[in-house]
C-alpha cells in the first residue's frame, strides 16, 4: 500500500466556494465551478428518483406473477426509470458536472466562453426536469422512454405531452452546453496548449459536444412532432392517415444512438485521465485515443438503424446499418487496447478512482462485445426486446458511465471541495458496487438469451431463479450507491484537507489551489510539456513535481 505524504492545506484564501455564502450568489452565479456543483446536486436527485423506480421494478420481478403492481403501473415504472436515467442523469452527468468544472481549468482559462449561457443551461435543465418529474408523479407515462408511435402519439392515455415538453426543454440545455464547450476548446486555450497537448478528457468533451450540437435538435423535432400529433390529432406518424411510425423511429434514433456515445465518451475521457495517473505512466498512443474519440462521435451518427432491425425498415438498410455498427466498435476497441497498454509495466496504485477505472475497462469491454453480437442482424432478431438488450446497455451505461462518473467524482473531489474522501470507504464501495452490478446484470444476459422479454411485469416461472439473483444484486448495488453519497457528504466537513495535487497528477487543473479561486488561475498558465508526463516527474514521495514555465511566443491556435 502506498502512502501519500501529508501536505499542509493551502492558506485559507478566497476560493470559489467561500467567496460568498448567499443563496443568490449561487442561483445567479456565472462561475462554471458553481454551476457544476448545481448540476451535481440536480443529477444526483434525478438519479435517485430513477433508482427508486428501478428498485420497485426489481421487487416486482422477484416473482413470476405480476403481484406487486399492475401491468400499467409497471409500464409507468420502466418509463420513469428510463426517462429519468437517460435524459436527466446519464446525458448530463459527466459533461455537465465534471465537464463544466474541468474544461476551463484544463484549458487554462478563467471560465467557459459563454458563462451566462452556461447558467441558462442549468435553468433549462431544472425546468425540464421539474416538468417531467411532476408529470411522472401525478400520473406517469407508459410508453417507454422511446416514445414509439403511434402509441405515444395517439393511443396512450398518460401524461405524454407534459413529459415531452420537459424533455424538449432539457434538450436545449444540452445543446447550449455542447456549444459552450466547443467554442471554449477552440478559442480559449492558454499559451502553449496546442491540440495535441490537450488532456484526453478535453478531446472526449469535444467529441461529446459535437454529438450534443448536431444530434439533439433532431430528437427535439421528433418529440415535438409527437407532441403536435397528440395535441392536434393529425397524422404524421399515424398509419390511419398515411403516416409512417418508422419515420418517428428514424428521427428518434438518429439522436438516441449518438446519445449513448454522449454517455460513454466522457466516461472514456475520465478513464484516460485516471489510468495514467495511477499507473504513473504516460498514456499509450495519445493521438490514437484522441482521434478515436472524434471517430466515435462521427461514426455514431451512421448506425442508428441497428435499433430498428425488426421494426419494418428495409432489409437492405438493415444490412448497411449492420456493417456500419461493426465499424463503430473499432475506435472503442482502440481505446481499450491503449488503456491496457498504459497499465502494462506501470506502477499501479489501487486507489479508489483506479478501482472504478479498472472496473470500467472490464465492464465496458463486455458491454461493447455484446454490442457486436447485437450488430449482427441474425442475433439481434433473436434477442431483440429481451433482457439481453437490457443487460448489454446496462453494462455500458451503469458498468461504464456510472462507474466512470463515480471514479471521476472521487478523483477530482479534492480539487472540487478541498477535502479528501475517506480512502478505505471509497475502495470498499467501489468493490461493493462492482460485485452488486455483476450480480444484477450478468443473469440478465442469460435471461435474455433464453427468451425472457423486456418490459413485462410478469414472466414464465422458469426465469425466476435468475431474476431473484438479479434483484439480490440490485439491492447490493443500491447500498453501494448510497455509501458514496454518505461518506462524500461526510468528507465535506470532516475529510482531510487536500493540497493542490494530492495524486501528483499532471494537468493544469492540479496546478491551482484546491478549491480553486473564482478566476481559476492567479496568472494565465503557460504549457510547455506534453500531457501525461509522468515519466518526467520525480518519484512519488519526493517533492511535488513542478512543470517548468517559460513565456511562450504566442497564443496557441
Amino acid at each position: 500500500m502506498t502512502t501519500i505524504p501529508y501536505i499542509p492545506a493551502v492558506e485559507r484564501e478566497s476560493d470559489y466556494l467561500n467567496i460568498s455564502y448567499r443563496v443568490k450568489s449561487w442561483l445567479l452565479t456565472v462561475d462554471h465551478k458553481r454551476i457544476a456543483i448545481l448540476y451535481m446536486l440536480s443529477v444526483t436527485f434525478f438519479f435517485f428518483i430513477g433508482g427508486a423506480a428501478a428498485t420497485l421494478m426489481r421487487l416486482e420481478l422477484m416473482t413470476p406473477e405480476g403481484d406487486l403492481m399492475q401491468a400499467d403501473n409497471y409500464n409507468k415504472m420502466f418509463t420513469l426509470h428510463g426517462v429519468m436515467m437517460v435524459f436527466f442523469f446519464l446525458i448530463p452527468s459527466i459533461p455537465a458536472v465534471l465537464g463544466n468544472f474541468l474544461v476551463p481549468l484544463m484549458v487554462g482559462a478563467k471560465d467557459l466562453a459563454f458563462p451566462k449561457l452556461n447558467l441558462m443551461s442549468w435553468y433549462l435543465f431544472m425546468i425540464g426536469g421539474t416538468i417531467t418529474t411532476v408529470a411522472m408523479v401525478v400520473g406517469g407515462v407508459d410508453t417507454g422512454w422511446t416514445f414509439y408511435t403511434p402509441y405515444s402519439s395517439v393511443y396512450s392515455n398518460t401524461y405524454v405531452v407534459a413529459t415531452l415538453t420537459g424533455i424538449f426543454i432539457n434538450g436545449f440545455s444540452s445543446i447550449l452546453t455542447g456549444l459552450n464547450f466547443i467554442v471554449t476548446i477552440h478559442k480559449m486555450r492558454c499559451p502553449g496548449l496546442t491540440w495535441f497537448r490537450l488532456p484526453l478528457f478535453l478531446w472526449s468533451m469535444y467529441a461529446t459536444s459535437i454529438i450534443f450540437v448536431l444530434g439533439t435538435p433532431v430528437v427535439a423535432i421528433a418529440l415535438l412532432l409527437v407532441l403536435i400529433e397528440r395535441v392536434t390529432r393529425i397524422g404524421i406518424f399515424n398509419p390511419a392517415y398515411g403516416g409512417d411510425p418508422i419515420l418517428f423511429q428514424h428521427l428518434f434514433w438518429f439522436y438516441s444512438h449518438p446519445a449513448v456515445y454522449i454517455m460513454v465518451l466522457p466516461a472514456m475521457g475520465v478513464i484516460s485521465e485516471i489510468v495514467p495517473c495511477f499507473s504513473r505512466k504516460q498514456i499509450f498512443g495519445y493521438s490514437f485515443v484522441a482521434f478515436s474519440s472524434v471517430a466515435i462521435a462521427v461514426i455514431s451518427f451512421l448506425v442508428w438503424g441497428h435499433h430498428m432491425f425488426v421494426s419494418g425498415q428495409s432489409v437492405y438498410a438493415g444490412l448497411i446499418f449492420s456493417i456500419l455498427s461493426f465499424m463503430v466498435a473499432i475506435p472503442s476497441a482502440v481505446k481499450v487496447f491503449n488503456w491496457t497498454a498504459t497499465l502494462y509495466k506501470g506502477h499501479i496504485s489501487l486507489r479508489t478512482p483506479m478501482l472504478y477505472a479498472l472496473g470500467f475497462i472490464g465492464l465496458f469491454t463486455m458491454g461493447g462485445l455484446t454490442g457486436l453480437w447485437l450488430a449482427s442482424i441474425a442475433v439481434d432478431v433473436h434477442v431483440t426486446d429481451t433482457y439481453f438488450i437490457i443487460a448489454h446497455f446496462h453494462y455500458i451505461m451503469v458498468g461504464g458511465t456510472v462507474m466512470a462518473y463515480l471514479g471521476g467524482v472521487h478523483f477530482w473531489w479534492p480539487k472540487i471541495t478541498g477535502r479528501m474522501y475517506p480512502e478505505w470507504w471509497g475502495r470498499f464501495s467501489a468493490g461493493f458496487i462492482f460485485f452488486g452490478f455483476n450480480l444484477t446484470f450478468f443473469p440478465q444476459f442469460l435471461l435474455g438469451y433464453e427468451g425472457m422479454p423486456r418490459r413485462y411485469h410478469a414472466y414464465a416461472p422458469e426465469f425466476q431463479v435468475l431474476n431473484v439473483m438479479s434483484t439480490a444484486g440490485a439491492s447490493i448495488l443500491a447500498v453501494g450507491y448510497l455509501m458514496p453519497l454518505l461518506y462524500l457528504v461526510w468528507s465535506l466537513k470532516f475529510g482531510r484537507p487536500a493540497g493542490p495535487n494530492p495524486f501528483f497528477a499532471t494537468g493544469l487543473e492540479w496546478q491551482t489551489p484546491s478549491p480553486p479561486p473564482t478566476e481559476n488561475f492567479p496568472q494565465t498558465p503557460v504549457v510547455t510539456q506534453e500531457p501525461y508526463s509522468y515519466h518526467l516527474m520525480a518519484p512519488q514521495g519526493a517533492a511535488r513535481a513542478a512543470e517548468s514555465r517559460t513565456p511562450s511566443e504566442g497564443r496557441a491556435t
Partner: protein, 124 residues
C-alpha cells in the same frame, strides 16, 4: 470607400467592411434567381423540376451565406462549422431515405422443399 475599419483610438480587431455595392449586386442576383425559380416551376420537367428548384435554392443560399453572412472573410474554422452542419444533414437524409427507397427491394427467395429436389444422376 474604405475597405478596412481601423481605428487609432482603440485596438479593435480589424474586420473587412464590404462595399455597399457588393451587397446590392448580390441582392440583384438573388431577386433574379427568385424569378427564375418561379418560372422554372412552370416548365414541365417531370421529376427534374425538384432538382432544378433545389439547385437554384442552393445557389441563393450560398450567395447569402458567402456574401451577406461574411463567410467569404471568415476563418477556415467557421467554414468547417458550416460544412459540418450540411454534411450531417446529408447523413440524416441519405441514411433515412436509404430505408424508404429500398423497401421491398430484397428479392424474395423461393423456398424449395427438399423432396422436390431430384438427385442428379450423372450419365454414363
Amino acid at each position: 470607400m474604405s475597405d478596412h475599419a481601423t481605428d487609432n483610438t482603440t485596438q479593435a480587431p480589424h474586420f473587412h467592411v464590404e462595399p455597399a455595392r457588393t451587397y446590392l449586386w448580390i441582392f440583384g442576383w438573388l431577386m433574379a434567381l427568385l424569378i427564375l425559380t418561379v418560372l422554372a416551376a412552370r416548365v414541365p420537367l417531370g421529376p427534374f423540376n425538384i432538382f432544378v428548384a433545389l439547385l437554384i435554392a442552393v445557389v441563393k443560399a450560398l450567395l447569402v451565406v458567402i456574401f451577406f453572412m461574411h463567410l467569404r472573410h471568415a476563418t477556415r474554422l467557421t467554414w468547417m462549422f458550416a460544412a459540418a452542419a450540411l454534411v450531417w444533414l446529408g447523413i440524416m437524409f441519405v441514411l433515412t431515405l436509404n430505408d424508404y427507397v429500398t423497401r421491398g427491394h430484397v428479392p424474395q427467395r423461393h423456398y424449395v422443399p427438399p423432396t422436390a429436389i431430384q438427385p442428379h444422376v450423372p450419365e454414363h
